[in-house]
């Protein structure tokens, strides 16, 4: 199920503004890849370009290739809706659909795609919620609104929602930045489990988190203000944190670690 991603010569623009320059990297199947780097260097932009969410912003533009198991998601004739089904996304701020119950939130992707089989939907609800370590907490109130959960629970609900459509890749943009340490740990544990089935890309500002959850780490940086963000280096997480090959990486990491 899980697929690999190859990003080749990716350049991303917002209107005239060149946000990210020439990114080439590989994301391995069934592993966690972390994107780190200072604010504004384009981590989210790269992440959003992987499932064609970048183009939702007016005036945005993409150059280069994103290959999902060898197939370019930007090839002519590829339906972005299909791409997003295959590559799911979890956002920084939990965003459950306010009008839907917990259960409907989980199966929203399937229901909106026309799935009607009640039994199947029930099964998937339970499986996804269990997968997101949320089942025990909400199983008695599946028909209550999703907006009534705590922030951490909402974020896990969003993860369940993203996994319910059984994507091949899961993108997470700072999924824990709004959560307390305990919820954060819960989600980190979850990521460790999810990586058995999914290819995961996670953006984080938390160095320890990157070190804890990821197999490989990519460091992005801004060479100077107003210039596009760039990929500085990518490598095995242990190596990036202990022995980076670039000075900029070391500065950033050590600065953060103090």
């Amino acid at each position: 199920m899980a697929k690999r991603l190859d990003i080749e010569n990716l350049n991303l623009y917002y209107n005239k503004f060149h946000a990210v320059q020439d990114v080439t990297l590989q994301v391995h199947a069934r592993s966690v890849t972390a994107f780190i780097g200072p604010s504004g260097c384009g981590k989210s932009t790269v992440l959003r370009s992987l499932n064609r969410m970048h183009e939702v912003v007016p005036g945005s533009r993409v150059e280069g290739k994103v290959l999902l198991d060898g197939e370019n998601v930007y090839a002519p004739g590829v339906d972005p809706v299909q791409v997003r089904r295959t590559i799911g996304m979890v956002f920084q701020k939990a965003n459950p659909f306010p009008t839907m119950s917990i259960k409907d939130n989980v199966v929203a992707g399937l229901k909106l795609a026309g799935e009607k089989d009640k039994k199947k939907l029930d099964e998937i609800t339970e499986r996804s919620l269990r997968g997101a370590n949320l089942w025990e907490e909400v199983k008695d109130r599946l028909n209550k609104p999703g907006g009534g959960l705590s922030g951490g629970q909402q974020q896990r609900l969003c993860i369940a929602r993203a996994t319910a459509v059984q994507p091949d890749v899961l993108l997470m943009d700072e999924p824990c930045s709004a959560l307390d340490p305990i919820s954060t740990l819960a989600i980190e544990d979850l990521i460790a489990e999810l990586k058995k089935d999914y290819t995961i890309v996670i953006v984080t500002h938390n160095m320890q988190q990157a070190a804890r959850v990821s197999d490989q780490t990519a460091f992005f940086n801004l060479p100077a203000v107003g210039e596009p963000g760039q990929l500085v280096e990518i490598g095995e997480t242990g190596k990036i944190f202990s022995n980076p090959s670039q000075k900029a990486t070391e500065d950033y990491i050590s600065g953060r670690f103090g």
């Binding site: 183009e55 533009r61 930007y74 339906d79």
Partner: protein
């Protein structure tokens, strides 16, 4: 207005979610001197559901635009022959003789006077009251009461104008008659309080009409004013309080300067409404053949009430055309006033925030 609103949020592009017109080229090469080997999509996938939905939405926009433009055109087409057949000066005459299509003589001067006099009088009465209410509700009333009190003021807008007309003509007019007579006898030397073309105690004059109109536009002005006064930055208010200002001084130095132009904009909206009000005035004002004396004790007809009264003689295109011409003048003036209101409102408040 909605332009600026649109730009405040992040708009979606025309091309997301496979929704682009089929032949959009995204011009991916604009910046890059060399075209990368595999540039994105010359053709985008368009889902059929998206295309239908998009066409429906866009089509309704087009429909509204065309229909209104068409109506405007029909109005002009109807008005022009009547204006050509007019034997009086449309802008300067006070006559309104439209019964006989072969002998049309109509002008708008008298209509304009009654319309403007009653609306301005209403505005003069309503503005201070509305401003006071808005300040009271936003700055003084306890929080739990502010909402229900605001709701009560809004209820004024829920009463239909025909009922205000009845109330004004049958209930209010007799009660305020002594005031009218007193003003006329004691302040009659001021031209607007001089004798009108009907006796001051008749009740069916601009004086009564203006008071009723004031009640009708009160909720409009109050609504806008409440909104702008409530937007006064808290930091400014607290700054003034910290200097030891009394509530009144806070209002005078922060809330009022901040909301003043929004309040004026709201008043213009109210004026627009007053200019176009029809039935209440049709019921209140008595019709007289004598021209106005330019006093608030005049009777007569406004643009709107003239049209409403004339509906009985809508039996040939030239006569109707005369009324349509008057309607166009009314339409243009309300539009101008409303545009001014929107402009004042949008160029106030926001800039200072």
């Amino acid at each position: 207005m909605s332009e600026s609103r649109n730009s405040e949020r992040r708009p979606d592009p025309p091309g997301e979610v496979g929704d682009a017109p089929v032949n959009t080229t995204e011009a991916p090469v604009l910046e890059a001197p060399v075209t990368p080997p595999n540039t994105p999509t010359d053709k985008k996938v368009v889902r059929i559901g998206d295309r239908i939905f998009r066409s429906l939405a866009t089509g309704s926009g087009v429909f509204v635009v065309t229909i209104i433009a068409a109506i405007g055109l029909f109005l002009l087409i109807r008005a022009i022959p009547a204006l050509q057949a007019n034997e009086a000066n449309f802008l300067l005459s006070g006559k309104w003789e439209t019964g006989d299509p072969d002998d049309l003589a109509f002008g708008i001067v008298d209509l304009a006077w009654i319309t403007v006099a009653s609306s301005i009088f209403a505005l003069v009465l309503a503005m201070p009251v509305a401003g006071g209410i808005a300040l009271f509700l936003t700055q003084y009333a306890p929080r739990v009461l502010a909402r229900p009190f605001g709701y009560i003021v809004d209820l004024l807008a829920a009463v239909p104008s025909v009922i205000y007309g009845l109330w004004g003509a049958l209930v209010l007019a007799p009660v305020i008659k002594p005031v009218a007579v007193w003003l006329n006898t004691n302040l009659g030397w001021i031209p607007v309080f001089g004798d009108g073309n009907v006796p001051a105690d008749s009740g069916s004059n601009v004086f009564t009409a203006g008071i009723v109109l004031a009640v009708m536009i009160l909720p409009i002005i109050t609504g806008v004013a409440r909104e702008v006064f409530a937007r006064t930055p808290n930091a400014q208010i607290e700054g003034a309080l910290a200097l030891g200002a009394t509530k009144w001084e806070v209002v005078r130095t922060t809330v009022w300067p901040f909301g003043r132009s929004g309040f004026v904009g709201g008043s213009m909206l109210g004026l627009g409404r007053a200019l176009g009000e029809t039935v209440a005035l049709t019921v209140i004002l008595s019709y007289t053949y004598e021209g106005p004396h330019y006093s608030i004790f005049d009777a007569g007809a406004t643009f709107a009430s003239r049209i409403a009264l004339g509906s009985a003689e809508f039996n040939n295109n030239l006569t109707v055309g005369a009324y349509i011409a008057a309607g166009l003048v009314l339409f243009i003036s309300t539009f101008a006033v409303n545009a001014l209101a929107r402009w004042i409102e949008s160029s106030s408040g926001k800039g200072k925030e």
